[in-house]
Amino acid sequence: MKHSTQIFAAVAGTMLLAAPALAQEKLYVASEGAKLKADKTASSDTVAELPVGTPLSVLGQEESWYKVSANGQSGWIYRGKVAATPPEASKQGGDNLFGGGGSSAIMVSEADSARSMRGLADSEQEAAKAAGRPTRTMAEYKQALDTVLAEKVGKKELEGFLKAGRIGEYAK
């Protein structure tokens, strides 16, 4: 095992060992789009949407749901939405899961010239020919990337997808 990996394992291990003692009383919202529900079913009213990192006091547990209180409100939350420690995301602020990927930051001319600087452009063209692959320009690759980044999934659509598949909190 690498030295650095060992250290990580040790640090992570220390934190994991510490977690179970508190798992009963205190949990944190660990998923995007987590909802506090009026009852232990996804079809009940939504009491509140809880941001990642929200601390929860656990009042009880039934089946796959925790009864909790958060910010002075109480309700039920699906077990998959919580963790014993707040996730990294809530500590760092981060971006937005449902945000646009935008257009890529690659500068076509610079990437192309950087590659030719390494003398790779020509050899790649040859390699592509030899393998029977079409040779493409950097602009074509950039366009493919922009198409990938433009592929967007909305919150509502994702909910519908989970519901249709009876996944997680929509299982029953």
Partner: protein, 288 residues
């Protein structure tokens, strides 16, 4: 930051959520003593943490986008079917919401390639080849593989693998200036190193095991049967002898029997796994 401040900072950050005061005091004593085992562990952690935390998300994403271009070049262009691309994004996003890093905009792409593989670019652009999707049979299996790749992104494995390259010395943020001149050459060389790791050499074995453990957890939390990942590994094992190795899952991941055994052992953490979503029919109709 000096060593003592770092240790105290780390301890303070961990304290409220980790240990009761009395235990914590003993732990603190141990790490403040520079010759203790704990202290040595943490001083090593310092260099790892500081180098992986230097980079902001935008810079991480820039590296990922550059690597994605190399992914198209190496493996193939995105499959033309809009249906499968959107489906893979829905499954991937469902898992990503419950991953250890749920707040970055992930994107998933199926590329035209006869080689079975999947890999993750820093920042959250995740590739899976058409050939790998073809050997899967259920949505839970797809969710397992995507969760494994999400795990690599969340744990910043690719970046950690190449953080010692020259490019990162003195770079906290990638800007137009860092893409030019000597730094520009170093940037390209760093991208080359990362390609070498992701497409040929593979990540460190322990990172793969870590991503597997993370994948089981993410799939389970989402509501998919976490056995899906292991099932795909088992299918890969049955076709291993007749498949292309270069640039494939076989050559870039640890031996399949080890991983299958480890994942099967971890299933005891998920006693109700068999009651969770599998979705063979939806997968069959959507993955075309």
């Amino acid at each position: 930051m000096d060593r003592r401040k770092f240790i105290l900072g780390l301890a303070a950050a961990a304290m409220p959520l980790a240990l009761p005061g009395s235990v914590m005091a003993g732990f603190l004593d141990a790490i403040i003593d520079p010759n203790s085992k704990e202290s040595k562990l943490l001083s090593g952690a310092k260099s790892v943490l500081s180098s992986s935390q230097q980079l902001d998300y935008k810079s991480e994403r820039t590296i990922g986008e550059r690597l994605a271009v190399e992914g198209f070049r190496r493996y193939g262009m995105p499959l033309q079917s809009k249906g499968i691309q959107h489906y893979v994004n829905l499954v991937g996003m469902a898992a990503a919401t419950n991953s250890p890093r749920p707040n970055i905009p992930y994107r998933f792409v199926v590329v035209e390639s006869d080689v079975q593989n999947a890999f993750a670019c820093p920042g959250g652009i995740i590739f899976v080849t058409g050939a790998l999707v073809k050997i899967m049979q259920t949505e839970a299996q797809l969710a397992g593989i995507l969760s494994h790749e999400i795990g690599h992104v969340a744990l910043r494995h690719a970046l950690k693998s190449i953080q010692r390259t020259q490019f990162f010395s003195g770079v906290g943020q990638i800007t137009a200036a860092t893409m030019k001149g000597d730094k520009g050459t170093q940037f390209e060389s760093m991208i080359n190193d990362m390609q070498n790791v992701l497409f040929d050499k593979g990540l460190d074995q322990n990172m793969e095991y870590e991503a597997d453990a993370s994948a089981l957890e993410t799939a389970y939390r989402t509501g998919y049967n976490p056995a899906g990942l292991t099932e795909t590994l088992q299918t890969l094992r049955t076709i291993e002898s007749t498949s292309t190795k270069k640039g494939s899952w076989f050559s870039t991941h640890p031996p399949l029997p080890n991983r299958i055994a480890r994942n099967q052992a971890s299933m005891k953490k998920y006693p109700d796994a068999a009651t969770l979503a599998v979705l063979a029919d939806r997968f069959k109709s959507q993955s075309k």
